[in-house]
Symmetry: C2
Subunit: 272 residues, 2 copies
């Protein structure tokens, strides 16, 4: 893939990137970062030392040692629900110099506000949301959406070196405010996860007479289930626009049911 | 495409096929039937004489003349909701010899029962449901599902010549009872249309930060809207399993909402 990369984006500086929360999503991101030649280190609640050793990543059980390890970028990849607790338990005094903190959470106002409350004033903050995951990004990241907001950036060079990771892979780079993101994501991503989870509750399965449309729903169920329920809950609990969306959703369903039952009654009448 | 057709299925006899109800779906089927060399004629509530002339199809405003026109097959393609009225108004005494009646309605027990009630005893009955339409079948019918039940077939040769139309195009031919079809279709096709219509009510639109999953839902909305609301209502009103499915659907949504709000409350408590 690198053969088709324009010269301007291929000359990204090699970064020392520290990962906080080495779950499914950051493992997925890490593979591409390593491929691009960045140097990774990680810390997490769970002990990932073996997996990290296999991937060529330094794993730190001790968060203070992790923070002291001279990171250019510290990438926050914990679940939405654990963000506040994880950040508030970090001994930031162990930082030897200011770093760029980047988060990849699927909700953005909440991530921005928490980072600004908790981080030392001299650290830079870049809020991002790669709008893809291990399933949709398994054949590469070309033309997949990457949202970001430069919330507090003084070291421009480190920030743009980090963004280049996604540019190089061909992502559609979308700079927008965290608020704008949350409003759009409630109407798109949260709705999609809600329908996916709903299809799980319905326990839908392939039948011998599937239509193409139904096949797409079976796939949506499968993809949604590959994410944690924590992620889905986080999309709801920490995006203020999602609350309204759930109400809209119920309202739309009631309206549709009403139309259908009305049509049903009309038919009964005609046939009496 | 015909180059890859095995000899056994390519030798289909040319049929005289009369179409009742020349709407979107039968126009779509007609194109392939003409391509295969069958001779078509049609009747419909609306005057399609111009369109039919352009396609090389004889159009009859007079249903008695249509019935008298020596059809091997009479294919019923009206909406689900108008089936009973359309059939009951047809002067079957105008038939000069028994024909094979085929229906393509998306609900099957109701179509079977109505055909058996209304048609002359000496006509054959084949109930079918091509599980695709102008959207999903626009690049050909290969590997698309075609359900059928030989409800009352004495003239085997005409029946298998008709089925060959779909075999030749590469459909997956699925012989099953109308009851089995309706049970499976309520859980798959009716559910898909309900979600598609629900997405219309929500008025979902592409955003600059679509995920792949959301893109699939925007497509589902579009495809569902290309069908009439009559078709959707028919799927509900005349499939007895769909009634239960709508209840399951509401129940599943309530269960999901409950899980989400419970998780929300737990988070509020932890953070107090
Ligand atoms: N999956 C995706 O497609 C996707 C796409 C874009 C953005 N994101 C975002 O990326 C982040 C990670 O997502 P994910 O898919 O890996 O799954 P997730 O369930 O949202 O998060 C899992 C991560 O959170 C950590 N974690 C969970 N509870 C914790 C706690 N109580 N204390 C400390 N750490 C805790 C886990 O640590 P351990 O592994 O050490 O247990 C793991 O690293 C989320 O913020 C999500 O919104 C995900
Ligand atoms: N669309 C699909 O993808 C698809 C796939 C498989 C099976 N089917 C089945 O195929 C049939 C036709 O579907 P469709 O998509 O064309 O749309 P539809 O809205 O279900 O049916 C339209 C047809 O019904 C006729 N019709 C409607 N109301 C009538 C009335 N009161 N009196 C007489 N005729 C009436 C229309 O006649 P005029 O055009 O003359 O007004 C037109 O031919 C349906 O039974 C449907 O379940 C559709």
């Amino acid at each position: 893939m690198s053969a088709s990369v324009p010269a301007s984006v291929s000359s990204s500086r090699s970064l020392k990137i520290g990962i906080v929360g080495f779950g499914t999503f950051s493992q997925f991101l890490a593979k591409t970062m390593i491929k691009q030649g960045h140097s990774l280190r990680a810390t997490s609640r769970t002990d990932y030392s073996q997996l990290c050793a296999d991937m060529g990543i330094a794993f730190f059980s001790d968060v203070a040692a992790f923070l002291g390890a001279d990171n250019d970028v510290i990438m926050i990849c914990t679940s939405i629900l654990s963000l506040s607790q994880v950040l508030r338990s970090m001994p930031f005094t162990a930082l030897k110099q200011p770093a760029l903190f980047v988060d990849v959470l699927s909700v953005k106002e909440y991530a921005r506000d928490t980072l600004l409350q908790v981080l030392p004033e001299d650290s830079d903050v870049l809020c991002t949301h790669p709008m893809f995951g291990p399933e949709s990004g398994k054949h590469g990241w070309r033309d997949l959406n990457f949202m970001y907001e430069r919330v507090r950036v003084r070291d421009e060079e480190t920030c743009s070196s980090f963004l280049k990771i996604f540019e190089i892979e061909g992502c559609r780079m979308l700079e927008m405010s965290c608020t704008e993101h949350d409003e759009l994501a409630a109407k798109s991503q949260f709705l999609t996860h809600t329908i996916g989870r709903f299809l799980s509750e319905m326990d839908i399965e392939s039948t011998p007479i599937d239509t193409k449309g139904f096949e797409a729903l079976v796939q949506l169920r499968k993809n949604t289930e590959s994410n944690s329920f924590d992620l889905f809950s986080g999309l709801y609990i920490h995006n203020r626009f999602a609350k309204q969306e759930l109400k809209n959703l119920e309202f739309a369903f009631e309206k549709l049911k009403h139309k259908l039952l009305k049509r049903n009654d009309e038919e009964q009448e005609v046939n009496q």
